[in-house]
């Protein structure tokens, strides 16, 4: 596509597609934004189930903030701290903040491992954290292996400005999407043959979109793999405290205590966006066992420092052991309840999900509803779900899943009533499908959104819409 004269004034980064916002993952958000569900004002609207947000525990945080006015610099009790906080722009961050985050991270792992506050580096959300780690570890053109299906925005976060490429290592349902050392070896070899310099492996554990946790043996084999090849391991543990059943979460930090490993290769990405449900706060953390990465990352945090006001508030909140213990427990409980409600509802209509114990979503198996086991079929089904069933779910292909028919459905960003509405819509849809498949008619929908990748018309859509838009915020306006 020829660049307009205006665009010619711009850089390659500004004009290429690696921001990834033309993928179906974001198309669903567009559909939601055009017609958002509201229980009273718009009960025929699209329900947002494509945004992994945890809104189940706001009340706990709200209560804590009310009880601790000193932690907010804009209250009478806290305002005397104002000038020290407002002036503070040191990229090391407040010591108390780092200590509190280290404390929280340790507790999220059941106290089985402790974290050193001096290795905590801030960044602009986990988005910024992943990018910072890549800037520190890899040069433009280098590659990272990533087990797929994986979080769609990894490509943007890890590669857009860094120039790093991601090589997916496909996993499929034959072994419950488990990553194997053999698959990694094969991918690595292939990259070597193509003269691609593999710098590391990036995993999300607990997994997005699968919601599964890696077992000890798999983790051990991953660590031994990277150790052998002398490449880095980045473990995105953003859902570490969003675990609601067994098997329980094992962090890579625990594994390296148990086995021989070059610690300079191990890095963790974390954030409070999922576990605490505070994505608006923009708290991203890089935790590295490598001094050079900590040093470099510190300086890079100038590009994404956490607001000192936020640091101050969270430093108090996360060092309140009683609050943290209760929060973690309560969060798990509520997630378990919601997960159970949702999966049981799906089971009733014969829809199975991958067995999972973590995350804010389920990996739903709709393979039997596909006409053919192809990508096109999956996309057709997805259009139907968006346009007719009016649910924004995310198709497996947007997660680079090689097996068609899987969908990620988020369940933690709505209240119970909305869950019921969603389940009801699914029930109705599945029954209709069963009737349809008996009649065997051709799907000839008037597709509003075409299948082929294309640039979305920016003059029509407000570019705002590509940011995640929380349904709760929308509902109140």
């Amino acid at each position: 596509m020829a660049l307009s004269k205006n665009q010619q004034l711009l850089s390659k980064i500004a004009t290429n597609d690696r921001h990834g916002e033309n993928s179906p993952y974001f198309d669903g958000w567009k559909a939601y934004d055009k017609n958002p569900y509201h229980p009273i004002d718009n009960c025929e609207g699209v329900i947002q189930m494509g945004l992994a947000e945890n809104q189940l525990c706001f009340d706990l945080i709200q209560k804590w903030i009310r009880r601790n006015p000193k932690a907010s610099i804009c209250t009478a009790e806290g305002v005397h701290e104002f000038k020290n906080i407002a002036i503070f722009q040191d990229y090391n961050g407040f010591k108390e903040f780092r200590q509190a985050v280290a404390n929280f991270m340790g507790k999220a792992r059941g106290g089985r491992v402790t974290y050193d506050p001096n290795r905590i580096v801030m960044s602009g959300g986990a988005t910024g954290a992943n990018e910072t780690v890549m800037f520190c570890l890899a040069n433009p053109g280098d590659a990272f292996l990533v087990p797929s299906p994986c979080y769609p925005a990894f490509d943007r976060d890890c590669g857009w400005r860094t120039g790093v490429q991601l090589i997916p290592v496909n996993c499929d349902s034959s072994n419950n999407f488990l990553i194997t050392k053999a698959a990694l070896e094969a991918a690595y070899e292939r990259a070597q043959q193509d003269h691609i310099n593999v710098k590391g492996l990036i995993i999300a554990n607990p997994s997005n979109p699968l919601g599964t946790v890696l077992d000890r043996d798999t983790l051990r084999s991953l660590v031994s793999f990277i150790n052998e090849k002398k490449i880095h391991l980045v473990s995105d543990e953003i859902y570490a405290a969003s675990v609601f059943s067994t098997p329980s979460f094992v962090s890579v930090s625990e594994i390296i205590e148990e086995m021989e490993c070059d610690r300079d290769l191990i890095h963790i990405v974390y954030s409070l966006s999922k576990d605490m449900g505070l994505p608006g706060f923009r708290v991203g953390i890089v935790y590295s066992y490598n001094d050079a990465v900590v040093n470099c990352g510190r300086k890079m945090s100038s590009f994404g420092l956490v607001s000192s006001q936020t640091q101050h508030l969270l430093a108090s909140m996360l060092s309140d052991d009683e609050f943290v213990d209760n929060f973690l427990k309560e969060n798990s409980k509520r997630l378990a309840k919601r997960h159970s409600m949702f999966t049981k509802g799906l089971e009733k209509v014969g829809i199975a999900c991958l067995k999972s114990s973590a995350g804010l979503f389920v990996w739903m198996d709709l393979r039997r509803l596909l006409k053919e086991q192809t990508l096109e079929s999956e996309m057709n089904l997805w259009r139907v779900i968006i346009n007719e069933v009016k649910l924004n779910v995310s198709p497996g292909s947007s997660f680079h899943c090689s097996e068609p028919g899987w969908f990620r459905v988020c369940f933690a960003n709505m209240d119970d009533d909305t869950v019921e509405v969603a389940l009801e819509r699914i029930r109705v849809f599945v029954e209709k499908q069963q009737v349809k498949s008996k009649r065997k008619f051709q799907n000839n929908l008037n597709l509003k959104l075409s299948c082929t990748p294309r640039r979305y018309d920016e003059s029509v859509m407000s570019p705002h819409m590509m940011s995640p838009r929380s349904p709760l915020v929308r509902a109140r306006t």
Binding site: A14, F281, R282, V293, L313, M466
Partner: protein
């Protein structure tokens, strides 16, 4: 009267292209005065040979005195002289240079480059102060910070506003916009619409209502630092360049160059012009850069200027616009000190110029933030204001990496929209900066140190060339060292700002109290006296 000569292809210019961390700048600093001297006699040859020879010996000297460094980066001719004390470093840093290459684990080249201890006096000074900070009671012999342009003069006003408006706190009311459910979830990454509206009005207010800003042309970022970097990513590819008038803010070298791979080409300004950019110099720099095969993508200006503190006159802005149009390049105008004016001159924003002209606005971009004018650097509030739709679209996507924290946005919306309070703040701030400025500059005058003509910013640009032993960067750094270690004040030497004339220092005075100013002047006096004795 000599015509400008094309720069000879000397080893220095070679190293300048290879080493973006400022090695070439030092070379230029040696060549220019020397060429001036030598031009009368056998000009070009002597003018190139002598600096070459000096440079070679300097490098030899450095090689002998420097511990082995890893990697193939040509050593940047460090600005540290042999007399500088061995600066203590924290242990995690001192091991890094060996870590990057000897161990089997390779980090990226960006990480390796930053692992070397930072040579710039700007950063060294900041580190030293944090190790030994002055405190009137607890540490009266500590180092007084004059190297960080922070404004501590008006916090009382903000604290008062906060105490009177606490219901606009994070958790003021039940439900409503300020409950947790309003700030916790995902927000648009380029800022809340209400905050953009508030910031647009605020910017207009601080610039004296001479121009109005459209919130839809705004992208908000976590500080002016990412704002600059994001613009750079949008406007230039790795290996491209921006022209920057010197002296310039040392942080530009990191913000604009580090991760983007873009080069900054200094365009030297002189005290005779009060450091205002000349189009001739700009043109020369543009051509020279092009000859080296590097594509110039734009000009980066700071207006009001950091570190000089003066304003670009309307005429200059028009000329810059014409130049940019002619060469088809961008202009990035960093106007972060627009509200920190204390003089009587009138600040003219790039936006105001564009308002009057009916021309192609696609190449103009303004950077702003609340770190200086509202003294809230910790809150991380930056603005990209552009007239180019495509840039706005791309920048919006890039804000995913640097968004402003939602509770901070909510807090500031009410504060920044309180136009009565902001008016009072701007006026009081102006008054207090002026008082401090006058006190400080007068104090320096008593010591025979003159400052450049300035009317904005949180600092003054002082000419201490009378105190330096040799009119060179080396002399300047020796003085800087004395000021840091004997007088125990941290000021920023002109060389850290790429200033071509030695002896200039940026002194920020808005972190001081009036008593502190007296102490600072006294400390400088002691050093000045020893310098006069020695010279």
């Amino acid at each position: 009267m000599t015509r400008p000569r094309p720069r000879p292809r000397t080893p220095e210019s070679e190293s300048e292209t290879r080493n973006p961390t400022g090695g070439g700048a030092t070379a230029m600093r040696l060549i220019v005065p020397l060429q001036g001297v030598v031009q009368g006699r056998g000009g070009l040859i002597l003018g190139s040979l002598i600096p070459c020879a000096l440079f070679y010996f300097f490098q030899l000297y450095l090689k002998r005195h420097r511990s082995p460094k890893p990697g193939s980066n040509p050593t940047s001719p460090s600005q540290s002289s042999s007399n500088l004390p061995d600066l203590q470093r924290s242990s995690s840093r001192s091991n890094l240079s060996s870590r990057g290459s000897i161990g089997p684990v390779q980090v990226s080249s960006r990480a390796s480059s930053i692992a070397r201890p930072n040579d710039s006096p700007y950063y060294i000074g900041l580190d030293r102060v944090s190790e030994d900070p002055y405190h009137r009671l607890d540490n009266p012999n500590g180092i007084i910070q004059l190297g960080l342009s922070e404004n501590r003069l008006c916090f009382d006003l903000i604290e008062k506003w906060l105490s009177e408006n606490t219901k606009d706190s994070v958790m003021g009311r039940d439900g409503g916009d300020l409950s947790i459910s309003g700030i916790a979830p995902y927000q648009p990454s380029d800022g809340l619409v209400e905050f953009k509206v508030a910031m647009a009005d605020f910017m207009s207010q601080v610039m004296g209502r001479a121009v109005s800003f459209d919130p839809s042309q705004m992208v908000l970022t976590a500080g002016a630092t990412p704002a600059l970097e994001i613009l750079c990513f949008c406007l230039a590819d790795p290996g491209n360049a921006f022209l920057v008038p010197t002296p310039y803010y040392p942080g530009f070298d990191r913000d604009m160059k580090w991760r983007t791979g873009v080069e900054l080409i200094p365009v030297h300004c002189r005290s005779t012009d009060n450091f205002i950019i000349s189009i001739t110099a700009l043109d020369q720099a543009f051509n020279q850069t092009r000859k080296r095969g590097i594509k110039v993508r734009g000009i980066l200006i700071s207006n009001p200027s950091n570190p000089v503190g003066n304003l670009l006159p309307r005429e200059t802005l028009y000329n810059l616009l014409d130049f940019a149009r002619e060469k088809n390049i961008h202009i990035v105008s960093d106007e972060i000190f627009a509200g920190s004016m204390y003089g009587s001159e009138e600040f003219v924003s790039m936006a105001e110029i564009l308002d009057m002209e009916d021309i192609d606005k696609n190449r103009i971009h303004i950077v702003y933030g609340l770190s200086k004018d509202l003294a809230l650097p910790g809150f991380r509030v930056g603005v990209i204001y552009s007239f180019n739709e495509s840039v706005l679209v791309a920048a919006k996507k890039l804000t995913r990496f640097s968004s402003i924290s939602a509770p901070t946005q909510r807090l500031l919306i009410s504060m920044v929209s309180d136009t009565r309070f902001i008016q009072e703040y701007i006026e009081t701030n102006k008054k207090r900066i002026r008082e401090m400025h006058d006190l400080f500059v007068e104090g320096l005058k008593q010591l025979g140190i003159k400052c450049a003509q300035s009317c904005a910013g949180l600092y003054c640009w002082a000419d201490m060339s009378g105190l330096i032993s040799s009119y060179s960067e080396k002399g300047e750094l020796e003085l800087w060292d004395k000021l840091l270690n004997i007088a125990k004040i941290n000021v920023t030497p002109g060389s850290a700002c790429h200033c071509i004339e030695p002896g200039w220092f940026r002194c920020c005075f808005t972190t001081l109290s009036q008593e502190d100013v007296v102490i600072v002047i006294e400390r400088i006096r002691k050093v000045a006296e020893t310098c006069k004795i020695l010279s």
